[in-house]
Assembly symmetry: C2
Homo-oligomer: 426 residues x 2
């Protein structure tokens, strides 16, 4: 079975809003064993909409359409579906009652325009929406089963899960199970990861996908079959082979984020963490505290941008700053030890570097970072340099460099925690 | 003139990668006076590619196609374009020399597969790529002028700017100037901003777009005409009207970020800033330090997650924590004053709240934040509560709540700095 996806709306068509729904729906359909052939975005314009619905209806078996179900005059998806199928719109009393109930519960006044949201093409099945005012609907146009759902991402996700995916499973003759395994890596570029892993598709019955979210590269393995145990076993062998190829660059065999992996290790050891951030400017502590429950192990970050703050808060010596500079292994050693001392944490990680666009020198160019890690038994320091490729505006480049500094620092902490840090690391 | 956009590649088609290129290109084309009718994504499959190119060639005047120009066997865009147009591929010697030069300069070995990147449909014009190894090309298929560019966003952006947009301006008979004005707001929901501003399209000759990047809502005004001064004057009048409607909720008339606006005000006053962050976990200092040059005014953030850190680093009194709790106006007052004292900053902003998913109580539910601001003359404190709608996973909800806490805190600082803070604020 083949699927197509259509996102509607002028905001999407004109690029004011990036369409993230279609990628999400594609992934979910592919995981359910349906190949997605095409996704497209068009505006709220009747002729284009009906032509597009007709084309999809003649090509695909399944289609998911997002957007255009709201109360305003721009929202014409139901009307376009009715016109394409050659049927009229009719009021669905039960859907109208549901919409009224939502307004009543929220204490809002229902405007007459919301009544429009209960008008559906004759013969359509209604898909209830428990998280918003716009119900969806499902109907056949041409040879294709269409699912019309709202464009608001979290409403779309719930309705996809509740109606569309279960329904599609029923439509499949030869039920296929597709399982995905995600492996997270840091330290190798996307092309290198690709070269090292490409042979997995010859060796095992899996599909390979790479997903680079700078500076992390995820390896995704997709296995397909009618027997769940067999699929799981193929994935398990293939992912063990990937781990062999990528070795210490793998930081999660379950697609977890670096901050979640580190949080889990700290929790399991009953250990605590503090930070002393200069060039990363709070990014590391922001990442760490995104994880629910991080207050169990995260105690403190001293974001010491000024030299005075490094001295007053962390106890870095003026002499060290004068002799070696703020960006030096000597300074991050004192920052890490200071953060550990004042917070009482077991581990303290410190960063000082040059995120740019200004402040670089020949000896310490933009992209240079010094990282210190104080542990219960020792303090280690490292100096690293990122490839300093100009990508976009100076602020975008600066944010990428900060992000790389943060990930490199967390990686050093992770390797120390897992005792994998070779002396020659990088 | 009407345009369509096509993104190619299996990663995009299957949803492993979100296509952000098409939204970017749509915006640029619309700003150049070209209406974009459709954008779509298909995989690296010859029949679908040639059918799609043929359809676009019969409908549109201009098309931009991204992706599929690399050296691997998956990359078949040039071949598909040649087949659709009914011409052969031929080697372009000059493009091959350029590719060789790039490899030589980088010190990489050029593989034989890269030779493929210099093969183009007969009659195509080559678009040089100075930032990657894949040149683009331009040719007519059907009635449509096609531009084929790489899928790597930063290479695509440079080539769009260097070749595609200037070329399109030449193609237009009736040259239209489209200018955009972006106004940034915080504190009102998207629907309220929409209701308050909808009449702008009747009163002035402009188009209106809203762009919500939680929790900020941007108002975009598009004006079009053949005379630059007239377009500028229409936009200026329309945006002044928008400012009247939205009043104090507008924080930038130039689409700047909150952190940039605050940085500019601090710089202009020669004033400095420190932070004391509990619930925001370093997010505010991360935002502030994303701005190039922020080290001129940003001194320090004490991310004091634990009560000990609040006491040891910021000097919050144990008695205050015991009597009022960490999330209290009394505690953030002492946090703000402590951060100001130890950093020597002119202003210090402090946050303490409950980002969830756990830790909420009836009296202080998840989404509650206390904010303190110490200035050279006084300390003010506020308690706020965000709407606590469950959106996605607990981590996604937590990150949204942190983001709202951060923006609300910065907004209180901005209003104080601009002396707009009414006693009854919110």
């Amino acid at each position: 079975m083949f699927a197509e996806i259509l996102a509607t709306g002028d905001e999407i068509r004109s690029g004011t809003l990036v369409d993230t729904n279609s990628a999400y729906i594609s992934q979910k359909l592919e995981e359910a064993g349906i190949e997605v052939l095409r996704h497209q975005c068009v505006g709220d314009e009747m002729t284009i909409l009906t032509n597009t619905l007709r084309d999809i209806g003649s090509r695909a078996d399944i289609a998911v359409v997002t957007g255009g179900l709201g109360p305003t005059t721009d929202d014409i998806t139901a009307e376009a579906a009715a016109e394409t199928a050659g049927v009229k719109l009719e009021l669905n009393e039960s859907a109208l009652e549901d919409i009224k109930a939502i307004f009543k519960k929220a204490g809002w006044e229902m405007s007459s325009s919301n009544r429009k949201q209960a008008m559906f093409p004759v013969g359509a099945s209604i898909l209830k929406n428990f998280s918003g005012t716009a119900p969806g609907f499902s109907m056949k146009i041409g040879k294709c089963r269409f699912y019309f759902v709202p464009g608001v991402p979290f409403e779309m996700k719930i309705m996809l899960e509740d109606y569309v995916l279960p329904d599609i499973v029923k439509l499949q003759d030869n039920k296929q199970i597709i399982t995905v395994k995600t492996i997270s890596t840091f330290g190798l570029g996307e092309s290198t990861v690709g070269e090292k892993t490409a042979a997995v598709t010859d060796k095992f019955n899996v599909k390979l996908g790479l997903r680079a979210t700078f500076p992390e590269v995820q390896v995704k393995l997709y296995a397909q079959g009618s027997n769940g145990n067999e699929v799981a076993s193929v994935l398990s062998e293939a992912s063990a082979w990937i781990k062999e190829q990528l070795g210490e660059y793998v930081f999660s065999m379950d697609g977890l984020s670096m901050e979640k992996v580190i949080g889990d290790i700290l929790l399991s050891r009953n250990a605590t963490l503090a930070l002393a951030e200069s060039c990363t400017g709070g990014m590391i502590s922001d990442l760490i505290t995104n994880v629910p429950g991080s207050s169990e192990y995260f105690l403190f970050s001293g974001v010491t941008y000024s030299n005075n703050a490094k001295m007053n808060v962390l106890g870095v010596r003026q002499e060290t700053l004068e002799k070696f500079g703020a960006v030096s292994e000597e300074t991050v050693r004192e920052m890490a030890e200071g953060a550990r001392r004042i917070s009482g944490a077991d581990y303290a990680l410190a960063t000082s570097g040059i995120a740019g666009p200004d402040g670089g020198t020949d000896e310490k160019p933009v992209g240079t970072v010094c990282i210190g890690l104080a542990t219960p038994v020792k303090t280690i320091t490292k100096r690293r340099k990122t490839a300093n490729r100009q990508l976009g505006s100076s602020q975008e480049t600066r944010m990428r460099i900060k992000r790389w500094f943060a990930m490199m620092s967390l990686e050093i902490l992770r390797r120390e925690l897992t005792q994998q840090l070779p002396e020659s690391f990088y």
